[in-house]
């Protein structure tokens, strides 16, 4: 027996564990609620060894029944033709997708995945409250909950014999193998996610790594030749089976929801041609339909000659006159559901909670489209003990059970995901409105031998080569690399300029005044924040630069500002968020806070801006360091670093062109050269290496040609040469690829450059022309590389030239 203190302590351990594992649930429309940590009640929901077989049999029957209904609705429509199911229940439901009519999934079953929300009423009976048939979520959370519970409360599992969850996941893999087109062995299976802002994205990435299926977004896939292909770094790979976590209509913008950015154009055609299988099949949302409830019993008689083992909650479908009258007469005592979720508003209402006015509105809505409404008896859900803020309270519980269909029949998870409402009064339990989860324990008559949930080794382990990296992830890693350096480079130059302005105010001489102006103009050109100090209206800003400087630092809506670049950086990171460690997230959170400050335009404010820049620079350097530890070299590192090296090169060239090319007198040029060294963290390096006053020739030597200076252009180009050689390449191609040609040319140009010639200028020249031409040419070569990489590896637009 554990003491109350001990339980509280374990509870805290468990929350920390879940947080460290990055278990989250996203709340839509709430930016602060993104990545809300998952909450788990330490007290499990128990199902006894006597009760479970009864529940299980009922669920298996219901899954079989729903499978038959689904096949019938999109096939022969016998239920409708024989008058067992009213036409309107199907045809007026928005989830009945006519383009899916006639499509058959290979394999024995249509409904591969099924989840049911169960409730236990106070008299102990079990009821099905909701059916989930499109892309049921929660099985991954159930697994993660179980993992956390076994780690925190191992002794409980020894005392009680708790059934394992792993047979369900084993069946899931079999079920997906079973629907592979043309019975292909070892099918390529992917999990299709709407993306990282989806509420259950954590689960998508968790299941992807647990099951060994690649996690993809719509734009990772492409339909060609009526087949579905995964864009990877190594080229296009045929996809056989898609486990989708996306609602029906988002799957294909060509035939379903035209403005869906999430789906794959042409997907339904590939399905129709039988070249790819999707679980669950597109269109299965028709079963998420309370209008079916009153007809399930007759349908069970019709198809199975059986009675329902788990009875449905008494329901009245308003498409029939008698039932409509009953619902209208008993409105306040019923739960009212729309047969499908309306695009605006929720799908179920507890009529008892409505005011007289709301009731009469609801009555009008039902009367206007009766076939869209169902009245349901309210089940008095039984309570279970829950640990809420250290106290044991009694809460109502919904139990989500998961089933999967294989060629051998359905398999139910012996366990599941329980949810309790956040307050005590709620009729509707949903993770969207908050709520706490619970593990569900199905007790076993026999002693269960293995106590922990063992990760199953995938039958066919995925090689961790860069070739297998989905292009979308690769592209985002590449952009994370570019934005990392863009934020760092801009922060450093901005700091250099601000420091000069802050100090220059005290020491007004003509050269410092001119240097300040040159630096401010260079900043606008460097960060591309025109007009700024370089375009229209610059005269006033040059005299009083702080307002503009603050804007370039903090205005997130202004393209080119530091905050803008940071937000882009943040977005790219989120797109590939499974690649980052908890420490990395902490660094990002602190950076985010730095940008949320409101800084006044006072002397104090100037110092505050400088301090903010100092902090940001420290954090981004920390971020770079953390990446080295946490990103797998094979998979992501190369792309991230290619992005960094390219960005560093381009920024360096731009900095030199905007500061050092113009001739402005020795004194000013000296200051500018010093600024270049400072904003590249190379001043110390310079002094150590040359032990001489700063000159243009030596600055260029250090920043362009020194192979040992990690900030020099030569260093970047050398690294790029190595990385680019490691990108996947068709072994039959013996000639240089386009990016190899570009890097070779850049490398040669650097090697052949005449250092003395670069600093030549006639007395009347306004700029170092040779230097400028050299830099422009380098920029042209290097800036061409990202485009070629993108076309070759991310977009797959370049046809193989063989």
């Amino acid at each position: 027996m554990l003491s109350a203190d001990e339980i509280s302590g374990r509870d805290e351990d468990m929350m920390r564990l879940l947080k460290e594992n990055g278990v989250t649930y996203n709340i839509y429309g709430d930016p602060a609620g993104l990545n809300r940590p998952w909450t788990l009640d330490i007290i499990p929901f128990l199902v006894s060894q006597e009760e479970w077989p009864v529940i299980e049999a009922g669920l298996l029957q219901r899954a079989r029944l729903l499978d038959l209904i689904l096949a019938d609705i999109y096939g022969e429509r016998q239920l409708i033709r024989h008058g067992i199911l009213p036409v309107d229940v199907v045809y007026s439901h928005a989830g009945f997708l006519r383009p899916c009519s006639g499509i058959r999934l290979p394999g024995a079953r249509h409904l591969v995945l099924y989840a049911a929300d169960l409730a236990r009423s106070k008299d102990g009976r079990i009821w099905v409250v909701n059916d989930r048939t499109q892309a049921p979520s929660g099985s991954g959370y159930a697994l993660e909950n179980r993992t956390a519970m076994t780690r925190v409360m191992p002794e409980l599992f020894e005392g009680l014999q708790v059934r394992h969850l792993s047979p369900y996941f084993h069946a899931l893999r079999n079920g997906l193998n079973d629907i592979a087109p043309h019975g292909r062995p070892n099918p390529r299976i992917v999990i299709l996610t709407p993306g990282s802002s989806n509420e259950t994205y954590f689960e998508h990435s968790y299941l992807s790594s647990y099951l060994g299926f690649t996690l993809v977004q719509g734009n990772d896939l492409i339909v060609k030749d009526n087949h579905v292909w995964l864009k990877t770094m190594g080229g296009l790979e045929r996809v056989d089976v898609i486990l989708r976590r996306m609602d029906d209509i988002y799957c294909d913008p060509l035939e379903l929801k035209e403005d869906s950015q999430l789906g794959v154009p042409g997907l339904l055609q590939a399905v129709r041609s039988g070249n790819v299988s999707i679980a669950n099949p597109i269109g299965s949302g028709i079963l998420e339909n309370p209008g079916l409830m009153p007809f399930l019993q007759p349908i069970a008689r019709y198809f199975l000659s059986e009675d329902l083992l788990i009875p449905t909650i008494a329901s009245w479908w308003c498409g029939q006159p008698k039932e409509l009258d009953y619902v209208l007469a008993h409105l306040p005592s019923l739960g009212i559901k729309r047969i499908y979720r309306s695009p605006t508003g929720t799908s179920s209402v507890d009529a008892a909670s409505l005011s007289a006015r709301q009731l009469s509105d609801l009555r009008d809505r039902i009367k206007a489209h009766p076939s869209l409404w169902v009245g349901q008896e309210k089940v008095d859900i039984a309570s279970s003990p829950a640990l809420i803020k250290g106290k044991i309270e009694s809460r109502r519980v919904l139990f989500r059970s998961f089933l999967v269909g294989t060629s051998h029949g359905y398999e139910a998870m012996a366990g599941g995901l329980c949810r309790t409402p956040s307050g005590d009064g709620n009729f509707i339990i949903s993770n969207q409105t908050g709520g706490v989860s619970k593990d569900a324990w199905v007790l076993s008559p026999e002693r269960v031998r293995i106590l922990t949930v063992l990760k199953e080794a995938p039958e066919k382990p995925e090689p961790d080569y860069i070739d297998m990296l989905p292009s979308h992830a690769a592209e985002n890693l590449f952009w994370v690399g570019r934005y990392t350096e863009r934020v760092l480079g801009n922060a450093r130059f901005l700091r250099t300029v601000m420091q000069f302005v802050a100090e220059g105010n005290k020491l007004i001489t003509e050269p410092t005044r001119q240097t300040e102006r040159s630096l401010l103009v260079a900043l606008t050109r460097y960060s591309y924040t025109y007009p700024g100090f370089a375009g229209e209206g610059s005269e006033g800003k040059l005299g009083h630069p702080w307002a503009e400087l603050r804007d370039v630092l903090l205005n997130g809506d202004r393209a080119g500002s530091l905050k803008f670049n940071f937000l882009q950086f943040h977005r790219a990171i989120h797109e590939v968020r499974e690649h980052w460690s908890t420490d990395t997230w902490r660094v990002l959170r602190i950076m985010d806070e730095e940008f949320r400050q409101d800084i006044p335009l006072s002397h104090h404010g100037h110092l505050q801006m400088l301090r903010t820049l100092d902090n940001l620079i420290t954090f981004i350097v920390a971020f770079i360091g953390l990446n080295r530890e946490s990103i797998s070299r094979e998979q992501g590192w190369i792309l991230l670093d290619v992005g960094r090296k390219i960005e560093t090169s381009l920024l360096l060239i731009t900095l030199l062109r905007t500061t050092l090319v113009a001739r402005s007198g020795d004194a000013v040029e000296y200051h500018l050269q010093q600024s270049v060294l400072m904003s590249n963290e190379s001043l110390v390096n310079y002094r150590y290496k040359y032990r001489m006053p700063i000159t243009l020739g030596l600055v260029l030597d250090l920043m362009l040609f020194d192979p040992n200076n990690p900030r020099s252009l030569t260093y970047q180009v050398n690294r790029l040469k190595v990385y680019l050689k490691n990108l996947p390449k068709n072994p039959a191609v013996y000639w240089l690829t386009e990016y190899e040609r570009l890097i070779l040319e850049a490398d040669t140009l650097l090697k052949l450059a005449d250092k003395n010639e670069l600093t030549l200028a006639g007395p009347a020249d306004k700029e170092y022309r040779v230097l400028n031409d050299f830099l422009a040419k380098m920029y042209g070569l290097l800036s061409g590389i990202p485009d070629v990489i993108s076309k070759t590896y991310f977009k797959h637009e370049l046809a193989p030239k063989i």
Binding site: R77, V87, K224, D225, N226, L254, R272, S371, E797
Partner: protein, 281 residues
């Protein structure tokens, strides 16, 4: 059935892309189907550049669908559909009886996003649909009223303008007229469907040219339990007969849009559509 008319229809759609497109997927509903009134003798489809995949099938409503994809870079897409259609049925009755009702008729009663009605639309419908009137009589009256009350105004609406706005402004084009009539008929609980097709554009000398020339046309059809489906063209205030050629039908435009496509490209595009309906006999 005897041959009443013979038409040759040329429907050419040209897209010009400002940025080259790497992949495109398209669904065409441009091949006329057979009905009790017409027989489609021949359809020839020419697509340029040559598509990599072409598939033909019938959709849920029995319309002919052509799917194609082009998987190489292109800056221009041209789709040329030539069809030869014989009009064989009588001019006034468009009889097409479905086999039993497994929802084939009832599904045309339900609201769709493009035919969502409000109180104003229902009231407008009630003026025509009065107790004691037959469905066809009422639908004919509705057609006449829309023709008289509304101003045919190209460019005022787009395909996504809701019918509630059309009835407020009393302006629109043939698609709007058809959607409005359908919303009206459904608001009183009757089945109505959207018909896509063409109308003969050359009229005898001295007779005013019909609206809908040189473009796709659209009208509506209402179901009368005794007569079956009956077409009405509110844009021209006439019962479609010898001058109308049906492509197909659905619950609203979205079900029978002539051409839908998804391109992978960052740039914008230009679109040109030309339709020529030539009478051969």
């Amino acid at each position: 059935m005897s041959l009443r008319r013979k038409y040759n229809i040329t429907h050419r759609t040209t897209y010009t892309y400002f940025e080259p497109v790497s992949v495109c997927h398209n669904v065409l509903r441009l091949a006329p189907r057979n009905t009790s009134q017409q027989v489609c003798r021949h359809v020839a489809i020419r697509i340029s550049p040559e598509p990599d995949t072409v598939k033909e099938y019938e959709d849920f409503f029995g319309n002919k669908v052509i799917y194609f994809s082009i998987e190489k870079e292109h800056a221009r897409l041209m789709v040329d559909v030539q069809s030869e259609v014989d009009i064989v049925g009588p001019p006034t009755a468009s009889l097409w009886r479905p086999m039993g009702d497994g929802g084939e008729i009832r599904q045309f009663i339900f609201e769709t996003p493009m035919t969502a009605w409000d109180e104003e639309i229902e009231q407008y419908a009630r003026v025509s649909f009065q107790p004691g009137r037959s469905v066809l009589e009422a639908a004919g009256d509705l057609m006449r009223r829309i023709y008289t009350d509304f101003e045919f105004t190209p460019g005022f609406t787009t395909i996504s303008t809701p019918v509630a706005e059309v009835i407020r402004e009393r302006k629109g084009v043939c698609q709007d007229y058809a959607h409005l009539a359908i919303a009206c008929i459904r608001s009183v609980g009757l089945p109505a469907r959207y018909v896509s097709g063409y109308i003969e554009t050359v009229s005898p000398a001295g007779v005013e040219k019909l609206i809908g020339a040189d473009a796709s046309h659209a009208w509506f059809s209402v179901y009368d339990p005794a007569m079956g489906w009956m077409d009405f063209d509110p844009t021209n205030n006439m019962i479609p007969g010898d001058q109308h050629i049906t492509i197909g039908w659905g619950r609203d435009y979205a079900d029978i849009a002539p051409m839908k496509g998804i391109i992978l490209s960052s740039g914008s595009h230009g679109l040109k559509v030309s339709v020529d309906v030539k009478r051969l006999a």
